[in-house]
C-alpha cells in the first residue's frame, strides 16, 4: 500500500476515528491490528519474514536479559566464597553466552535481509559461472525490510548493551517492528525513542491534528508536484547513457538532486505528520541537507537516522574494538599519526561499504559508498590546509559569497556521486560524468533537448516553481520551524495553508492525485 494511493488514504480515514474512539489503553492494540493489515496488504511473504524477525529478536532479547539476571545472582552468591579472579571468569562466561545469543540472532535477521537483497544477484552470478538456471528475484525484497531490520537489530544490541531492558510483551515489540508509517522509507527509529509514545494513551488534540495535517500536505505537495514530475525526466535521461551526454548529464544531476530531495523529505514529512496525528513523535531525518558546507556535514544532515545507526552500532564498536586497537598499537612504530588514523580509516571505509551495500546489490552502490568514504577521509586530511586558507583569507572565508560557494560545491560533489545511483553500471556512470568535460552540447540542453524527456515546458515551470518554494522554505527554516510560525497566526491560517497545498496538488499533482503516482525512491532500498 503506497502513501500515494487511495487505499492508503482510506486506511488512514478508518484508522484515525477507531484509534481515538476505542478506550485509550486499547490504542496500541488498534495500531498493531492496522499494522498487520498494512503489512499483509503488501504481501504475505513480507508478513512471514517480519514474524520471523519479531519472534527471533523477542526470544533473543529475553534470553540476554535472563542471562544478565542470572549473572548478577550468581556473582552476588560468589562474593563471600570465591576470589575476585573466579568471579571475573564467571562474568566472562556469561558475557560469552550473551554474545553467542546476539550473534545467532543477528545472523538470522541480517541473513534474511542479505538473502533478499542479494539473492537475485547471487542467482545471476551462479547462472553465469556454473551455467545453471538463475534463482531469486528482486521482487522478493519485501516492504520496509531494510528499515525494520535495522531498527530491530538496534533494539537487540541496546538490550545486549543494557541500554534498555528487553520488552516482556511480544505484541508490544511487534508494534515497534511493524509500525506502518516507518515501513515505507524509515526513518530508522530506536525502541527507547518510540516506546513511550507508542504505548502511552493519547487524547485527540485539534492542535496536533492541524500540525500533522500541514506537514502531511507539504509532504504530498513535494512528492506529487515536484518529485514525480522530475522523476519522468530523470528516468528518461538515465535510460539512454549513450545518447544523453555532456551538459545534459549536469542537468540530470541537478534534476535528480531536486527530485530525490522532494521525494525522500516529502515521504518523511508524511511519516512524521501521521505520527503527529497519532500522538507519536517520530525523529527528524533531515536538517536542510543541501545547505551543508562539506560532505561529512551533509551526511550528518541527510538520512540522519541511518547515519546514527551506522555510527552507534558499527563505526564506534569497530573503531574501538580489540583487533583495531591491537592493529593501531602494532603500527605505532610508523608514527602516532599513522597508528591513530588506521582505526578511523578502516572503520570509515567499512561503514561506507556497508552503507552502499544497504542500498542494493548493484556494484554501483558499493562504489558509491566507497567513494563517499574516500571523499570524507580526503576532506578530513585537508582540514589543516583549509584552516591555513581560512587564516590567510579571513574576510573572504567569512563572506556570504564563500559560504554560498562551499554549499554549491557540496551539492555538485554529491550529485556527481549520485550518478552511480542513476545508471545500471559503474562504467556508464563514470563515462557520463567524464562526458561533461569532453562533450560541449549546451545548445541541446537549453534548446530542445529537455523537451524530449517526457515533460512539457509547463511541467518544468511547475517543477521549477516547486523547487523555488522548497528553497524558500529551507531559507525560512533557518530562523525556526516554518510550520510553527504559520500555526501561531491561528487555526484559520493553518487550515488555509493546508487547503492551498491540497488545492495545488489537485491541480498540478503529477498525473492527477493518486492516479499513477510512483512509489518513493527510498522504498526500493
Amino acid at each position: 500500500m503506497q502513501f500515494t494511493s487511495w487505499a492508503f488514504l482510506l486506511f488512514l480515514a478508518v484508522l484515525l476515528p477507531v484509534y481515538y474512539l476505542v478506550p485509550k489503553r486499547m490504542q496500541w492494540i488498534v495500531l498493531l491490528l492496522f499494522d498487520a493489515l498494512f503489512v499483509c496488504a503488501a504481501g504475505t511473504l513480507g508478513a512471514v519474514f517480519m514474524l520471523v524477525t519479531i519472534g527471533t529478536v523477542y526470544g533473543a532479547a529475553r534470553w540476554i536479559d535472563a542471562l544478565f539476571f542470572r549473572q548478577r545472582s550468581r556473582i552476588a552468591a560468589m562474593k563471600q566464597t570465591h576470589t575476585k579472579e573466579e568471579r571475573k571468569r564467571e562474568r566472562l562466561r556469561f558475557e560469552a553466552k550473551r554474545r553467542r545469543v546476539l550473534i545467532g540472532c543477528l545472523v538470522v535477521n541480517v541473513g534474511i535481509l542479505f538473502a533478499l537483497k542479494y539473492g537475485a544477484a547471487i542467482g545471476r552470478l551462479s547462472a553465469t559461472l556454473f551455467h545453471t538456471r538463475a534463482f531469486g528475484s528482486e521482487l522478493m525484497l519485501t516492504m520496509g525490510i531494510s528499515f525494520y531490520t535495522f531498527s530491530t537489530v538496534g533494539y537487540l544490541i541496546d538490550v545486549y548493551r543494557e541500554t534498555i531492558p528487553a520488552e516482556k510483551n511480544p505484541f508490544r515489540l511487534a508494534l515497534f517492528v511493524s509500525f506502518f508509517p516507518l515501513l515505507v522509507q524509515g526513518p530508522i527509529c530506536r525502541f527507547l525513542d518510540l516506546k513511550n509514545d507508542l504505548f502511552t494513551p493519547h487524547a485527540f488534540s485539534d492542535e496536533r491534528f492541524l500540525k500533522g495535517s500541514l506537514r502531511i500536505a507539504w509532504g504530498y505537495w513535494k512528492k506529487l508536484i515536484v518529485a514525480d514530475r522530475l522523476l519522468v525526466a530523470v528516468k528518461a535521461l538515465c535510460a539512454r547513457p549513450d545518447v544523453y551526454r555532456g551538459g545534459v548529464v549536469l542537468l540530470e544531476m541537478l534534476l535528480y538532486a531536486a527530485c530525490l530531495y522532494a521525494d525522500f523529505t516529502g515521504g518523511i514529512d508524511i511519516t512524521i505528520g501521521i505520527g503527529e496525528w497519532l500522538g507519536i513523535g517520530i525523529p527528524e531525518n533531515f536538517r536542510r541537507p543541501y545547505f551543508s558546507k562539506g560532505i561529512a556535514e551533509y551526511w550528518r544532515r541527510w538520512h540522519i537516522t541511518l547515519g546514527e545507526w551506522f555510527r552507534t552500532y558499527v563505526y564506534y564498536p569497530l573503531s574501538v574494538s580489540k583487533p583495531m586497537r591491537a592493529l593501531s598499537t602494532k603500527l605505532r612504530r610508523l608514527g602516532t599519526g599513522v597508528s591513530r588514523r588506521v582505526p578511523v580509516y578502516l572503520a570509515t571505509m567499512l561503514v561506507w561499504a556497508l552503507t552502499g551495500a544497504w542500498h542494493g546489490s548493484n556494484p554501483t552502490f558499493l562504489v558509491w559508498g566507497l567513494l563517499n568514504g574516500a571523499v570524507i577521509l580526503l576532506s578530513e586530511e585537508c582540514k589543516p590546509l583549509y584552516a591555513r586558507f581560512h587564516r590567510r583569507f579571513p574576510r573572504l572565508t567569512k563572506s556570504a559569497f564563500y559560504r554560498g560557494f562551499t554549499v554549491i560545491r557540496t551539492v555538485l560533489l554529491l550529485s556527481s556521486l549520485r550518478l552511480l545511483d542513476c545508471y545500471s553500471t559503474v562504467g556508464d556512470a563514470f563515462s557520463a560524468f567524464g562526458s561533461m568535460f569532453t562533450t560541449w552540447n549546451w545548445n541541446l540542453v537549453l534548446f530542445g533537448g529537455i523537451q524530449s524527456l517526457g515533460l512539457k515546458w509547463t511541467d518544468y515551470l511547475v517543477a521549477g516553481a516547486g523547487v523555488l518554494l522548497m528553497f524558500a522554505v529551507s531559507m525560512l527554516q533557518r530562523k525556526g520551524p516554518v510550520r510553527e510560525r504559520i500555526l501561531r497566526r491561528g487555526p484559520v491560517i493553518g487550515v488555509c495553508a493546508i487547503l492551498l497545498l491540497v488545492g495545488t496538488v489537485l491541480v498540478f499533482g503529477r498525473y492527477g492525485f493518486g492516479f499513477d503516482a510512483g512509489q518513493f525512491i527510498y522504498n526500493r532500498f
Partner: protein, 77 residues
Amino acid sequence: MEPLLEILHDLHPDTDFTRETRLLDDGILVSFDIVMLVTRIEEEYGVLIPAKAITPEHFNSATALYALIRTLLEQDD
C-alpha cells in the same frame, strides 16, 4: 582534567572546552574526533571507553567526559 583538555584542544584549537556543553549535539566533535579522542584517552589514562558509552550524555562536555574516565578508572580498581 588538564591532560584531557589538552587532548581536546589538539583536536579543536578554536573551541573553549571549559564552557561548551553541547559538543556532540552541535557537531563540534564528529565521529573522527571521537575515535581519535578515545585512542588518546586510552594512551593518556589507560582506560578504554566502550562503544556503548559513546553517547551525548558522556561526550557533550569535557566535564562529563572526565567524569566518565574517572568512573572507568574506579571500575578498573
